[in-house]
């Protein structure tokens, strides 16, 4: 039997005071559950889908386009803008495992087609970039290829963001249905090489048409045009008297996210620009996580402080009773365990109640907020999410807070002098 019988009766006797402790724990745990579910919801709904598009070990390097002339003066080791020499030097940087150039087109291109989706044939100027299949191979749809070939349709990758923009803003504006990736894969259209409305037709003898086919969506694809295999574009450029293709940018792969910072600095020192979007998002995520974590810790500390106060009071009120128990055969450790068990049980009940309240509030919040969100490209289906680890963890934090809060009072209870019982 040991302490169980005493524990049950103590809990029954002190239920009002313990209820206040339990509510303090429940309040903190509820807020932590709410914050945690919102953080998890945003992570699952926004950050997680976004992270693969912003791999932190892949840097996008661009020439400093505004002041190219000045840059050339300061570019140092890489010798100025982005060219084949610069690519070779990028490959030699410590921590760099691969460099993928983004090749630009040296001739005008236009495209026509789209009857199936748009209701009528459309002709528009487009820009083309070339990418190494090794970089974007994972984005190619099953059954399709992104390799260079001289015959058949030119494989084309489209920016995933472009599809999202179309679905979120364009489709409704032109009163057309939204498109899924599956609907677009395999779609063919006509490319007119050597002629566009903006650049005209420099050499009518070199105008040709090719069929292009969408083979996938990629976050590395050109947002305002099409992306085709690097070798295809280099071959086409050569046909227009440009044996050396222009480079629009380059992707630099480093051996781990931790290398991204030093490599970025080395690239910037060389006079090139590095797209800082991943760095900014990573920093924002880190700051948000730290702020949320600190807030949760502060809440727990406050709850623990309240628990300490209450248990100090309870132990002080029961000083004589604890001394009597010592006289009757309770070990010092028994009294400490009694206080800690009481606190832990109250913490567990408070934690459980807090999780239920926090999760309920989060659920209601989700219903309210989701209905108010505009039709954004990254509109999540939920702004809150729950996981067993989150709910169990939050409830467990209640126990931890109560346990920690009761430690010092328990230590004081264990130190109760039994001789005082005889003198009282």
């Amino acid at each position: 039997m040991r302490l169980g019988a005493l524990l049950r009766r103590d809990l029954a006797r002190s239920r009002r005071k313990l209820a206040s402790v339990g509510l303090a724990v429940a309040g903190s745990v509820a807020v932590i559950t709410l914050l945690g579910s919102v953080a998890l919801g945003l992570y699952q709904g926004v950050v997680a889908p976004l992270l693969p598009r912003l791999p932190l070990d892949l840097l996008k390097v661009e020439p400093k386009t505004v002041s190219v002339g000045l840059l050339a003066l300061d570019a140092g080791a890489l010798g100025g803008g982005l060219d084949e020499v610069a690519l070779a030097r990028l490959r030699k940087l410590e921590g760099v495992t691969a460099v993928y150039p983004v090749v630009g087109s040296a001739f005008p291109i236009s495209a026509s087609g789209g009857e199936g989706f748009l209701g009528r044939r459309l002709r528009a100027d487009i820009f083309a970039t070339g990418l190494d299949p090794a970089l974007v191979g994972g984005d190619v749809a099953k059954g399709y290829s992104f390799e260079d070939r001289s015959e058949g349709p030119i494989p084309v990758l489209v920016a995933r963001r472009l599809l999202e923009l179309y679905n979120s803003t364009v489709a409704s504006a032109i009163e057309r249905p939204k498109l899924s990736a599956e609907m677009v894969i395999g779609f063919q259209f006509e490319l007119v090489l050597g002629s566009s409305m903006a650049r005209g037709t420099p050499d009518p003898n070199r105008v040709s048409t090719r069929v292009a086919q969408v083979v996938g969506f990629s976050d590395h694809a050109n947002l305002v045009g099409i992306t085709i295999p690097e070798a295809t574009l280099r071959r086409l450029n050569a046909g227009y008297d440009r044996p050396v293709s222009p480079l629009a940018a380059a992707y630099v792969k480093v051996d781990g996210p931790g290398r991204a910072g030093p490599v970025s600095q080395a690239i910037e020192r060389a006079g090139l620009a590095v797209d800082e979007t991943p760095k900014i998002i990573g920093t924002a995520l880190t700051i948000a996580a730290v702020v949320l974590g600190l807030f949760a810790v502060m809440l727990l500390l406050l709850a623990a402080f309240g628990i300490t106060q209450t248990f100090f009071l309870l132990v002080a009120e029961r000083r004589l009773e604890l001394a009597i128990l010592r006289a009757l055969g309770a070990r010092a450790g028994d009294l400490a365990r009694l206080v800690l068990w009481e606190a832990s049980l109250v913490g567990a009940l408070g934690g459980l109640f807090g999780v239920i309240v926090g999760a309920s509030v989060a659920w209601v919040l989700d219903r309210v907020v989701i209905g108010q969100l505009p039709d954004l490209p990254f509109r999540p289906e939920h702004v809150v999410a729950f996981s067993p680890a989150l709910l169990l963890g939050a409830a467990f934090l209640g126990v931890v807070a109560a346990f920690l809060g009761a430690l010092v009072p328990a230590w004081r209870a264990a130190g109760a002098n039994p001789a005082t019982a005889l003198r009282s």
């Binding site: 039997m1 010592r326 010092a332 005889l422 003198r423």
Partner: protein
């Protein structure tokens, strides 16, 4: 002659009071044999309660030698002294010191709840009922102790002290809060207890209670 339950030799105890050392006990010798009723008498402040604390393994800060059931109390650690209190000693206090949130039977059961290893509940309940029957409260086990008179409360305290089958019962002014008639009944109970081969050491101002003792130790203010 049987081995003494309690043997105190040259017990001295001092306390710090306002930066000065004040002697409470100065060289007390005492032997209590099985079944003996020993009374400690003397004026307030002479150290009766302090001596009970030493004898009851509650106060280890003394000089001299205290042996309980042949064991030198100074050589025992806190857990061993606690086990000794639980299994071999019973305590009765002037202010009863019952646990107000427990019933009569639960108060009596507390020393058994604290026993290590635990006593089976059925056996504990039988022991509790037997002790309540002995003190005349056999049919009051489920009542709250708040409903009891002073004499009844003291009888509950005595039942609690006896429930573990102690060899020595220590009582500090057990009739001090009771009227003369009730005090006499409690004194009768102590007479019965000594017949159970349990020694009793009582600190008391009650001369009629002391008159029943086999041995009276008169303590003076040191």
């Amino acid at each position: 002659m049987s081995e003494p339950i309690l043997a105190l030799t040259g017990i001295r105890r001092e306390i710090q009071e306002g930066g000065r050392t004040r002697p409470i006990l100065s060289g007390i010798d005492l032997v209590v044999s099985p079944g003996q009723l020993v009374a400690l008498v003397g004026p307030s402040g002479c150290g009766k309660t302090t001596l009970l604390s030493v004898a009851g393994a509650l106060d280890a800060d003394y000089q001299g030698e205290a042996r309980l059931l042949g064991q030198d109390l100074r050589q025992l650690n806190d857990d061993a002294r606690t086990r000794l209190r639980n299994e071999q000693l019973g305590f009765v206090f002037q202010a009863f010191h019952l646990l107000e949130h427990l019933s009569v039977a639960e108060n009596v059961a507390v020393p058994l709840w604290l026993r290590d290893p635990p006593i089976p509940e059925v056996q504990a309940n039988l022991q509790v009922q037997a002790r309540l029957d002995e003190v005349g409260l056999g049919d009051r086990g489920n009542e709250s102790v708040r409903q009891l008179s002073g004499g009844e409360r003291q009888r509950v305290a005595i039942a609690r002290a006896l429930v573990g089958g102690p060899k020595l019962l220590l009582a500090d002014e057990p009739t001090g809060n009771l009227d003369q008639v009730t005090g006499a009944k409690i004194a009768e109970l102590f007479e019965q207890i000594r017949k159970l081969d349990c020694a009793v050491l009582i600190a008391t101002h009650d001369r009629s209670l002391a008159a029943r003792a086999d041995q009276v130790i008169e303590l003076g203010v040191p």
